[in-house]
């Protein structure tokens, strides 16, 4: 791990983002659907529509529009939302912390749950416990995140679990307005445990819906990886040393099994972030995923472009973090 590596990766991100911006920009203007038609009332005249099109620069050729768009981007201007008439950057940055916190909680759940399942499955190798873990992972994986979200809501409604909120991010009765969007972290740092509890409770169901499929994948890959490590000579040595099976699985094998799992978890984590689009909508959770659905419904071109670029930046950042974590996990990669 070196600064030149980091710099090279950051420079490589620029053409990637340019490509994303270009593809989204062209796609949005080629597919049917007119933002002005969504915006304007039914009684509008042809002249009103033409006027609005000119105002938003939609009357130019796509190539010219793209040049103007890039010029704005270079100046840090992401445009103005057509449907909300606010600066796109401001809108996205206001919602981004919500999604980041949700994804981090979901990640913790996925890693914790998946890790526990993998270790249990590896510990009970060849016994009924392993079959139970495999079965559970298969079942969880068969249901996608948005369906889990709907199932959770169904459960809460059917069993009248009033304590578990299924909508929003914080209780209305909790008078807490953070200075940042990171309500979970901020409330904890300010020792506002009532607010922390409320946000956490609102986050439980969407986080689990997002986390379950990833947890099942982690369970499968990590379990296979541990089983592979368990065939190595140093495990035989550990047995000769007189270590218990639990210690051998959790300490000797697990550590060596982590690297392939981290690679895969990093890739899968980007799917989890993508999953926020539907899951946030289902739970009325005020993050950028929820915002993306509204933006698409309203054909709000500048906002969609801004959101897609935001997701792209998130994905690039996740992949970079994954690559940097290798060196931490594998001592052999530290001097290279």
């Amino acid at each position: 791990m070196s600064w030149s590596f980091l710099l090279r990766r950051l420079l490589l991100a620029i053409p990637t983002l340019f490509g994303v911006a270009a593809i989204v920009f062209v796609l949005l203007r080629v597919v049917p659907g007119d933002p002005i038609a969504m915006l304007i009332g039914p009684g509008a005249t042809e002249r009103d529509i033409a006027e609005l099109r000119r105002l938003y620069g939609l009357d130019e050729s796509i190539a010219l529009q793209f040049v103007y768009y890039l010029q704005d981007l270079a100046g840090g201007n992401f445009g103005t939302s057509i449907s909300m008439r606010q600066d796109v950057m401001e809108l996205v940055l206001g919602r981004l912390p919500v999604t980041i916190e949700l994804c981090l909680v979901a990640m913790l759940v996925a890693v914790g749950l998946g890790g526990a399942m993998a270790v249990a499955g590896a510990y009970w190798r060849g016994r009924p416990g392993e079959a139970a873990v495999d079965g559970a992972a298969g079942f969880i994986l068969a249901i996608p995140d948005f369906l889990w979200a709907l199932l959770f809501i169904l459960f809460v409604v059917v069993f009248a679990l009033d304590g578990l909120p299924i909508s929003g991010r914080i209780g209305h009765d909790v008078g807490f307005r953070g200075a940042t969007g990171f309500l979970l972290i901020e409330s904890l740092l300010r020792l506002r445990f009532d607010a922390f509890g409320s946000v956490l409770l609102h986050t439980v169901l969407p986080a689990f819906a997002l986390a379950l499929p990833l947890a099942a994948i982690i369970a499968r890959v990590l379990k296979t990886s541990i089983a592979e490590a368990m065939t190595q000579d140093y495990i035989l040595m550990a047995r000769v040393k007189g270590f218990s099976r639990a210690r051998i699985v959790c300490r000797e094998a697990l550590r060596n099994a982590l690297v392939p799992t981290v690679t895969l978890t990093g890739v899968q984590f980007t799917f989890l972030v993508g999953g926020t689009v539907l899951v946030e909508k289902i739970f009325s959770y005020p993050g950028i995923g929820n915002m993306a659905i509204d933006a698409v419904i309203n054909r709000d071109l500048p906002l969609i472009q801004g959101l897609v670029l935001t997701f792209a930046v998130l994905f690039i950042a996740i992949n970079l973090l994954v690559d940097m974590s290798y060196a931490l996990l594998n001592p052999r990669m530290r001097h290279g």
């Binding site: 140093y234 040595m237 040393k241 007189g242 270590f243 218990s244 000797e252 594998n330």
Partner: protein
């Protein structure tokens, strides 16, 4: 060799390890494949006992059975392994773990794969000290340094903090030896401990094992295919072929006046430092074929005896 230390053979009470008529087979789908056939050997306290044979003779399997790490499909179909007077072939996992460290140790064949790549050298020596001798962090660290010093590792303070991949093969084998002797076990199984090493390093490691053994007074079961190594380090030898003991006795007698044709053939196939001009003779195929036939005949007789008994 220092013959004076060894009690006369045939005193079962004096043995630290006594393998009695051990039979072992690998369970297959249809039938068991015999691996060990009526193997017996005794090791006295402080004795270095060579176990010699070609690949596939079952010598490594004997070491694994003693350590309780034989493959799960291996079935002990007869006989016993007495360690310190008690049979250790059917121990529970917990009893087995208590036996390791202070009772039994292993010097592995391949030091490149036997140390955990994820942890520092110091931790991999200290963990056995803490587990079996109940040492705290500080005491374990001090003893680890002492052990690294004992196995002639230069700059032990630095090696303590290094990872296995930063050490050479010879260094890693020294670390393995330090781990094996760490809790002063009564018996160490050395499973071809020099086979994977450079020829120049082999002699040093061999000398180190001998020195540590003399210093700590442990017995060693030295598994090897190399009679030359046996002549250097072992007090007594057992010659194995096809899972059967062909011959056993004092090293000097076996090397100089072997009673068995196979041992003499093995000797002729081993390079000797005292006679560098000799041509090496491969073990004749007619001889190995005859021995294999004998083994099969033994299996048939053993199976028949088992059927009559049952």
């Amino acid at each position: 060799m220092s013959a004076a230390r060894i009690p006369p053979a045939g005193t079962p009470g004096g043995s630290i390890l006594s393998v009695r008529n051990l039979h072992l087979a690998i369970a297959g789908r249809r039938r068991h494949t015999p691996i060990l056939r009526d193997v017996s050997l005794d090791i006295a306290p402080g004795e270095v006992h060579g176990l010699v044979g070609e690949s596939g003779a079952g010598k490594t399997m004997i070491g694994k059975v003693i350590l309780g790490i034989q493959p799960s499909r291996a079935r002990i179909t007869g006989g016993s392994v007495l360690f310190d007077g008690a049979d250790i072939t059917h121990l529970s996992e917990r009893e087995r773990r208590r036996l390791m460290g202070r009772g039994l140790g292993l010097i592995p064949q391949d030091p490149m794969t036997s140390l955990n790549p994820a942890y520092r050298i110091g931790g991999q020596i200290a963990d056995v000290l803490r587990l079996h001798l109940g040492m705290n962090r500080t005491a374990a660290r001090a003893r680890t340094l002492e052990l690294l010093h004992d196995v002639h590792i230069r700059e032990p303070e630095r090696v303590l903090r290094q990872y296995p991949h930063e050490l050479s093969g010879g260094m890693r084998q020294r670390v393995s030896i330090a781990i094996a002797f760490a809790c002063r076990p009564k018996l160490i199984v050395a499973d071809e401990p020099t086979t994977a090493l450079d020829v120049t390093v082999q002699r040093q490691v061999l000398a180190l094992i001998k020195q540590m053994q003399a210093q700590e007074g442990a017995s060693i079961l030295f598994v090897t295919h190399d009679l030359g190594v046996v002549a250097k380090i072992c007090d007594r030898v057992t010659v194995l072929h096809g899972g059967r003991v062909l011959e056993a006795g004092d090293t000097r007698r076996i090397v100089e006046a072997s009673q068995h044709e196979y041992t003499r053939a093995l000797m002729a196939a081993t390079p000797r430092h005292d006679r560098p001009g000799d041509l090496l003779q491969p073990v004749p195929e007619t001889l190995t074929a005859r021995l294999d036939e004998e083994a099969l005949a033994y299996d048939a007789a053993y199976a028949a005896a088992g059927t009559h008994d049952g």
